[in-house]
Point group: C2
Chain length 219, copies 2
DNA sequence: TAGATTGTTAATCGATTAACAATC
DNA sequence: TAGATTGTTAATCGATTAACAATC
């Protein structure tokens, strides 16, 4: 499942602590805040400032970062640019990550054109859809292939991750195919639990669930 | 919240236990699993079975449900239909909830047509977009109004919730307007922290963050 | 009654926060 | 040196799980 064995260059050799998933998510938040600070020409930032920007306790900021090394300078804070570089490397987003989208329905096609992924270094190479007889194209010019070409294209394009937005019934079967092709991460928009081998990560985005649990607090 | 009180205790505000957000999210999961069981004509389900369907410990299932009352029968399990009805009522989704979407860009327009919300009893009444001079329409026939009509339409349609998918810079300002109009829940797709009064709930859906934290586990 | 399963308490596990010596 | 802020330990808080008497 979630393992912490990462680049030895970052952790000290002995340090094989398991990093909680919550920490990893915050890493990504820090990276984004740092990006903003960079654009504001800030050279340093304290854990207090960074925490305030994100609504996170400063002790937690320090602790999270300390999992991965000593990035800060006592009495000074953290060097903005350097810290962000480190975080990107730790997260593995210091290089382009190739993504395929499976299921180009309404939501799928929107995700193909969604700018937020690209901004963080993800490149959506192509989409797949069952309904297609021949190759189509998204609004933003990304090719959408018939699902029959899944195997061929995924290998050809060396896809790392998949975004899954297909009907419930099709989700597990397609997941199995994707996993078989070496896809190691799945951003899953289908509201069912996917079975995957331990080395594959699935993050679920359950829009209806978010909405419904919001309703609980309606006055 | 008002649903949190137990029947054996004196009705005082102090008595109301605070329900953890994690519990509320699971309630929604239970509701969906129950829906599936109903369609399979199951009349009862045990905490063990329900837990297995969702990857949740059975003790947790029982504890979550017990927050809200005694729904189960020892030696038997939980009556499917009845439990689901109770959960929908507790969640507040036993009636139609009216939603407006603010920001009909790529993602926004897809959410307008996304079936998952409707399935849980949410009705997206309309969308708003800044770029429009006059009323347009989504693929699925939902009207999209120029942002100038926000005040008028939200009040007219008695909107409960908003889905926010606008550029970062516009998010806080529009949030303030929505809150001023009595919107009490926001499903926020904008990757910034929104300030809202205590009585307003915000759930953040951060797609880029989900993707980036996925990358951490790439082998 | 025998078997099953709840509701609940107690034990465990994990995550957050406070505090502070070490450091620049 | 004086002031600021880190990294880290200890304390707290909260959430999950195990266990079991009560109940059908």
């Amino acid at each position: 499942m979630s393992q912490a064995k990462r680049n030895d260059s970052i952790n000290s050799p002995i340090d094989q602590r398991k990093i909680p998933n919550a920490v990893v998510k915050r890493l990504s938040l820090y990276s984004r805040a740092l990006h903003q600070l960079e654009s504001e020409r800030a050279e340093k930032v304290s854990s207090t400032k960074l925490g305030e920007m994100l609504g996170i306790n400063s002790a937690q900021v320090r602790k999270d970062l300390a999992y991965f090394g000593q990035f800060g300078v006592p009495g000074f804070g953290y060097p903005v640019r350097q810290l962000r570089e480190n975080l990107k490397r730790i997260l593995g987003t210091d290089r382009e990550i190739r993504v395929a989208l499976v299921g180009a329905g309404n939501l799928g096609r929107a995700l193909l054109s969604y700018g937020g992924f690209r901004r963080e270094g993800f490149k959506i190479e192509c989409g797949f859809d069952k309904a297609l007889q021949e190759t189509a194209e998204s609004e933003s010019g990304i090719p959408i292939y018939p699902i029959e070409e899944l195997e061929r294209r995924i290998e050809e394009l060396q896809i790392d991750f998949a975004i899954l937005s297909v009907p419930n019934e099709a989700a597990q079967g397609l997941t199995d195919r994707l996993v078989g092709l070496g896809v190691s991460g799945i951003l899953n928009f289908v509201p069912i639990r996917l079975s995957v081998p331990d080395h594959v990560q699935v993050h679920n985005v359950d829009l209806a669930l978010e909405m419904e649990s919001l309703a609980y607090f309606l006055t």
